[in-house]
Symmetry: C2
Subunit: 362 residues, 2 copies
Amino acid sequence: MPNVYAVIMAGGVGTRFWPRSREKTPKQLLEIVGKGTMIQNTVGRLRDLIDPRKIVIVTNKTQKQALVRQLPEIPLENILLEPVGRNTAPCIGLAAMYIRRFDPEAVMVVLPADHIMQDEEEFRRVLRLAIWVAEESGSLITVGIQPTRPETGYGYIQVRDDEDPGNPYFEKGVYHVRTFAEKPNLPTAYRFLESGDFLWNSGMFIWRVDAILREIQLLLPEMNEELLKIDDAFGTEKFEQVFDTAYRTIRGISIDYGVMEKAKSVYVIKGNFGWSDVGSWDEVMRLASKDEQGNSSNGKVFFHNSKNTYVHAGNKFVATVDVDNVIVIVTEDSVLVCKKDHSQDVKEVVDYLRRKQLNDYL
Amino acid sequence: MPNVYAVIMAGGVGTRFWPRSREKTPKQLLEIVGKGTMIQNTVGRLRDLIDPRKIVIVTNKTQKQALVRQLPEIPLENILLEPVGRNTAPCIGLAAMYIRRFDPEAVMVVLPADHIMQDEEEFRRVLRLAIWVAEESGSLITVGIQPTRPETGYGYIQVRDDEDPGNPYFEKGVYHVRTFAEKPNLPTAYRFLESGDFLWNSGMFIWRVDAILREIQLLLPEMNEELLKIDDAFGTEKFEQVFDTAYRTIRGISIDYGVMEKAKSVYVIKGNFGWSDVGSWDEVMRLASKDEQGNSSNGKVFFHNSKNTYVHAGNKFVATVDVDNVIVIVTEDSVLVCKKDHSQDVKEVVDYLRRKQLNDYL
């Protein structure tokens, strides 16, 4: 087994989970599905696969305190604080250079902090395979999820899964990429679903540190230059200032667009382990267990003649009377009542709070 | 002007206003419509008509503390505490005997604690007329409300408003009763509405103390006997015990059924002053001012793409997203989400709480 590090990207603000997600406690720091917070479960899922001392978390100052409290097993020095969010490519580059100090040939597994996998054993099997391929091939590996619905909220990856003579891993379900596709419209999403060779882009990556840094140097030279400044200043007095200035100088870009779509040797492994990015209250409702009327609750709740209703009661008592297709989220200071299948509009509430500077509720 | 007392009946538990109404703070002690609690407004409406020292309130131990705090102008001794609820007839008899100690010929105005009148000047004009007729005629007077919709939740009074030779007050809009009618079904309610001579029974009464006590003696002799025991014990050491025992012995009965429907000389005055018994959250919503989308709010509320929605936010922030025809009531410890026009079912929630002995929420 190669020397493996994990990098967990935990910078998101998760406005879609208002009123539970707040600036200081975004989605990844909340218990949204089942027991444990999303990031605790993301770390826990790596059990027996990656030593907690080799888990690196990239986040920001606002979230640091809650994160340290939730993850006492992660060394403090492994928690990297971005001065500002710049999308995934700089975040990954930063973490890669940090890990290079310990082992430039290590394999790094990059994971979002706020996804779930229902079949964790299968998830770990896929990671082990990916780590092995990444180590042996020096290629960039990503995990593609077999679509189960015509989702328009994700990017897609078309894979070469019919025949691929130059692919030594073909038999193991490891495929070359044919093309990356942006978030599709609904007819296109239906076409992707029917085609069978389009997978959801899960945002999980596996590669050797030297491999990804070589690609960044090649494909994002300006960013690479700023990251090198930060790396050079590491451990010196001027580090904080250099980090801040250089990182702010970087143009934000995703690793998908900046590297994956242009890199020469990219493999995709098909993942089939009940993945969800838990992107909205509707998705939480979809994942929740329901009673015969399609109701689902968390806390003290009484449904009277109600159906297809999801209630998160916080520490309150919630009663619904003769309602259907409603999502109700109650926190200490706020209440959201949202029509089912419309929870993407929750961001409108957050926009309103920002506009009105109602910062207490943000 | 005769010597006038008011009796305000404030014993109701108001389960229909859960989660705001609780055992210790039922509807009459809450600010439900506009400024001031319902009982404060009921007292305030008598300004310039009845001296606060002549206002008697019949309530119970549970509500006493909040009531005293809300109505500092009412003498403590005028707050009569029923040991147990026994409907309106005993409550009124008790108050009448209390007032008889001061003036057996006084006129007493009996009012529910939790109704509203939008035109208070007109309300006072009607009361003045009623007081004058009650004093002069010795008859029992009630106020009937001109119906504005086929309401099935009220009793009705049919009045003799076409011709009535034996009625000296006919020209002033004071009518003899033709018949009392129980709560009708919907077709009957439509017939009542169209007939023009059916009025809503408002539960307001005006009469001389000696007149109502004479009728109680005649029509409810058993009750009268128990009330006399209480009256005899007044001011003695054994009062508390006699009050408790005698009052519990009384069979509960309404003044309408026990007295009004059987008494010989009953007049009804037509009231047209924007009366409402504010019987449900739907009625509160009907009375509230609304924006162009039909939304109405109380507190910090953001409506996004919502319509016909009523929100009482308490001290929380409430956002509704893409919902319509919903009533949302938020208190310190509870949240109600109820479909509009279904708020009579709120009592099902209270039943549930009783069944489960969730007394903190009752």
